[in-house]
């Protein structure tokens, strides 16, 4: 199971712009590197990231082999209502990880 770290405010004012930071452990093997025997190491990367705010998609990213290991993504949204921010990473070899945090909007 991949480790993920989420930094999002637990509380926000309605209409406030909030910053969300996500970090996940992943090797992001490019597929272009040879191993000790000269054969290329097969590609193994995260390909998609989706953030949903109370079920509605607010941010999506496609990731490619040039993205560094342990991808760190930060983005912002407007705090509209209390609820859940959910995060989903999917990738090669059936990789899938999910996280969620709660936010209270006053």
């Amino acid at each position: 199971m991949a480790r993920a770290l989420i930094n999002a405010p637990a509380k926000a004012k309605r209409g406030e712009i909030i910053e969300i930071k996500t970090l996940i452990s992943h090797n992001m093997e490019t597929g272009f590197r040879p191993d000790n025997t000269g054969k290329p190491v097969p590609r193994d990367i995260i390909t998609d990231f989706i953030c949903k705010y109370n079920g509605q998609e607010i941010f999506r990213a496609e990731l490619f082999p040039a993205i560094a290991a342990n991808p760190f993504l930060t983005f912002s949204t407007i705090a509209t209502e209390s609820g859940t921010l959910s995060f989903e990473w999917t990738g090669d070899n059936g990789f899938s990880a999910t996280e969620s945090v709660n936010i209270t909007v006053e």
């Binding site: 770290l5 930094n7 930071k21 970090l23 452990s25 560094a68 290991a69 342990n70 760190f72």
Partner: protein, 258 residues
């Protein structure tokens, strides 16, 4: 110089604080000070510092039963936040059974083989780095304090000799960069003073966490010298000397470096 005179000279250098070439204690600063603002921000924010991913893994491993003794680290040491506080700031430390200093990774493996009756974790394995990062993080902010006594003195001297010895095809010593030319640039990169304050640390170039021994191998490779195998006593002597040289600086584990 006669070989005997060289030993006496090294002893004299270690015995005093401000000899020519050595950085005065007041001017010693961590590699953090030489980093770009963005890299500092990455280290300072625990949710942006990738080293924290290893710390979290280490916390899980700390509580996991291992080996034929089916014991976890926590069974002997309890809560690491209390029992491991300050430990990494004193390592490498003298180990009486081995008759020489051991570094933190070696100490973890001694526990694994002798207490948990398990196999030692390979150098640079994710598990060993995770445990070292978790133990190291408990000393974050505490000043590095290496024992400078009769038992460690010969090893401190050996480390100091390695540090000042020219080697490799470029015929360079560690001291020529890190004592004499710190603050200058080597190609585009700043030359730091070479204080191992944050190991194991996340190096952006490596895209992973790595130990001080891995970093020392990097330097040796850059000098086009032959590197020692992982776990070689030469590395531990050098680690001991470098930590003694960094005494007083706060532990930053897990640090981030470019």
């Amino acid at each position: 110089m006669r070989p005997g005179a060289a030993v006496v000279f090294a002893a004299a250098v270690l015995g005093t604080t401000a000899t020519a070439g050595e950085i005065p204690l007041a001017d010693r600063k961590s590699g953090y000070e030489f980093m770009a603002r963005e890299t500092r921000a990455m280290q300072d924010d625990d949710t942006a510092n990738p080293g924290m991913l290893w710390v979290l893994d280490g916390e899980t491993l700390w509580k996991r039963n291992e080996g034929s003794a089916a014991k976890s680290c926590a069974d002997c040491h309890g809560d690491a936040r209390a029992s491991m506080k300050g430990v990494a700031a004193r390592y490498p430390a003298f180990n009486a059974a081995r008759g020489r200093p051991v570094d933190l990774e070696e100490r973890i493996n001694i526990c694994r083989t002798e207490q948990q009756q398990s196999t030692p974790l390979p150098f640079e394995s994710k598990e060993l780095l995770a445990l070292a990062a978790y133990v190291g993080q408990q000393s974050r902010g505490m000043p590095i304090e290496i024992a400078d006594d009769e038992r460690t003195k010969p090893f401190l001297q050996a480390g100091h000799e390695l540090f000042t010895q020219r080697q490799g095809q470029l015929n360079l010593s560690c001291a020529q960069c890190h004592d004499d030319n710190w603050g200058q640039k080597l190609a585009g990169a700043a030359i730091p003073q070479g204080h191992p304050t944050g190991y194991p640390l996340y190096r952006l170039e490596w895209q992973t966490l790595g130990s001080l021994q891995r970093r020392l191998r990097n330097c040796l490779f850059g000098m086009r010298a032959i590197s020692y195998p992982f776990g070689a006593p030469e590395y531990v002597d050098l680690e001991l000397y470098l930590m003694w040289r960094a005494r007083g600086l706060p532990v930053e584990t897990p640090a981030v470096r470019p």
